[in-house]
């Protein structure tokens, strides 16, 4: 039955439902974008660490609780540089010092550690860096190595936190929206109680009345959804371009459509339930 609900129900009855769906679509878009950003950034970080190894030349001895003097640290650096000199798997070495400012008197200067970042040859044999690590550890005791895997584990842990946050946001907003949606539908149907009973007494079957109200709902939901998708596109496309996020539009919009469909289904079920409940006492 193609009964136009606008000729029967107040046109304003379900208008604010559209706004709710719009709001949800934008939040859903935001969380999807957050997930994608996390994914992209993580990927590029992991790529960065793939051929990198870091080494810290310590400024103190943990066990003996002694602080080395700067000269000893520099000697260690020289030793390491000698070991790796000409090694085929090392492409370049970056040495970072945390020198104290020059205006501080040299005498009171606290010795500072030295950080080294090795760029490794991408075509090296698996675990080839282990050989260098062992050699350095034998000669220079006070060092801390970080292999690519350790950096990657750190990154993955951070990424997981972000993913969890974005997914929780989406789920949370989804549930709140569903709840508010249900409440609104029920309130509106209660307000339409007289109309409901009148058209029932006019000989409209329950299923017709249910579908009448469902069709009244679907319009604002579709409008809210469409405007929400457009808003999402406008709001987030600069971010997508700027952050160079890898985005699969089909997947992204597919996900939003899924949420959207869930709302339609939830609204339909609640409408059917509430209408049938309201007419339960009628013969």
């Amino acid at each position: 039955m193609a009964l136009p609900s606008s000729h029967i129900l107040p046109s304003s009855a379900f208008r604010h439902i559209g706004f709710m769906v719009l709001f949800m679509a934008v939040i859903a878009g935001f969380s999807a974008l957050g997930l994608l950003t996390t994914q992209t950034v993580t990927k590029s970080w992991i790529q960065d660490t793939q051929n990198k190894m870091t080494l810290e030349i310590l400024a103190f001895d943990e066990e003996e609780k002694v602080v080395f003097d700067q000269q000893r640290i520099e000697q260690n650096l020289a030793k390491i540089q000698k070991i790796i000199d000409g090694d085929p798997i090392i492409v370049s070495v970056d040495v970072t010092r945390f020198d104290n400012a020059d205006d501080i008197d040299k005498e009171y200067q606290i010795p500072s550690p030295i950080f080294m970042t090795f760029s490794l040859h991408p075509d090296r044999a698996k675990n080839a860096e282990q050989r260098i690590m062992n050699e350095i550890k034998e000669n220079v005791v006070q060092t801390i190595f970080k292999k690519p895997e350790i950096w990657q584990a750190d990154i993955n842990r951070t990424a997981l936190t972000f993913r969890f946050a974005f997914i929780s946001l989406a789920i949370g907003v989804f549930f709140v929206t569903s709840l508010v949606l249900s409440a609104t539908i029920r309130t509106q149907l209660q307000a339409s109680d007289k109309t409901l009973k009148l058209i029932y007494l006019m000989g409209a079957d329950v299923s017709i009345i249910v579908s009448l109200f469902q069709r009244a709902l679907i319009k604002p939901i579709i409008w809210g959804g469409i405007i929400g998708l457009i808003c999402t596109g406008f709001l987030f496309s600069p971010a997508v371009v700027f952050l160079n996020i890898e985005i699969q539009p089909l997947l992204f919009y597919g996900y939003l459509c899924m949420i959207f469909l869930t709302f339609v289904v939830v609204s339909y079920i609640i409408t059917s339930f509430t209408v049938r409940n309201a007419l339960k006492t009628m013969p």
Binding site: L3, H7, I8, K194, L198, I199, L201, G203, A204
Partner: protein, 216 residues
């Protein structure tokens, strides 16, 4: 067409407001339902349009036992019955046109057919100019006529009118009675609840008298 046999009605386990009602409504008949306020006129009307089921006895409508019918079946039966409620029950958010068109739309009639039928109907009740106006902006008599138009737009086999002249002065009430007699001449059965003796005298028809829930 409609047959009640030893029908009783009580609301929510309360006392019987209708007791042992037996009557037959024939096609094309015209009855008044008379009785003082609280005698059970509206309650009997409710049974006749299946707004309530009897708590005892049997009602047969168009050869169907009402109590045994399914809901969709009852919905189909209701399509043969036009009701003018004592309180009109017009939808205030709709125009007069949409109020009158409502039953046709529920029957999923094509909009073109609805337009010609409703336009003609509104003209017939003398409200041709008021199609776009909403009920709260009309007088009681005008609203009454909209309620009549809505009840008869589907050409039901029987029209139930609950005190249709109750709130109107005599000339206005008489004009509505003339509408009813015209409908009756076209073959529609009518039951008109009233306690206005003047109306009954000027437009004589058989009486069904209710007294404290009993037919007398």
């Amino acid at each position: 067409m409609i047959e009640l046999s030893h029908v009783g009605l009580r609301y929510d386990g309360g006392p019987e407001v209708l007791s042992d009602i037996s009557l037959t409504i024939e096609q094309g008949s015209f009855h008044y339902l008379m009785g003082s306020s609280g005698s059970g006129k509206t309650s009997l009307m409710r049974l006749l349009h299946m707004g309530k089921l009897p708590s005892r006895g049997h009602i047969t409508m168009f050869d169907e036992d009402v109590a045994k019918s399914s809901r969709p079946k009852r919905a189909a039966l209701r399509n043969n019955i036009g009701v003018i409620f004592q309180d009109f029950r017009l939808l205030h958010h709709l125009s007069i046109y949409d109020n009158v068109a409502l039953p046709l739309r529920l029957l999923d009639q094509p909009e073109k057919k609805i337009k010609s039928a409703v336009t003609e109907m509104i003209k017939w009740i003398g409200l041709g100019e008021y199609g776009h106006v909403r009920p709260p902006f009309l007088s009681g008599g005008q609203q009454q006529r909209v309620a009549i138009a809505r009840a008869i737009i589907t050409k039901p086999k029987i029209l139930l009118a609950d005190e249709p002249t109750g709130s109107l002065d005599d000339p206005m009430g008489d004009s509505i009675m003339k509408l009813f007699e015209e409908l009756n001449k076209r073959g529609m059965a009518l039951i008109v609840a009233t306690h206005n003796k003047g109306t009954v005298e000027r437009f004589p028809h058989p009486l069904l008298k209710l007294k404290a829930g009993h037919l007398v």
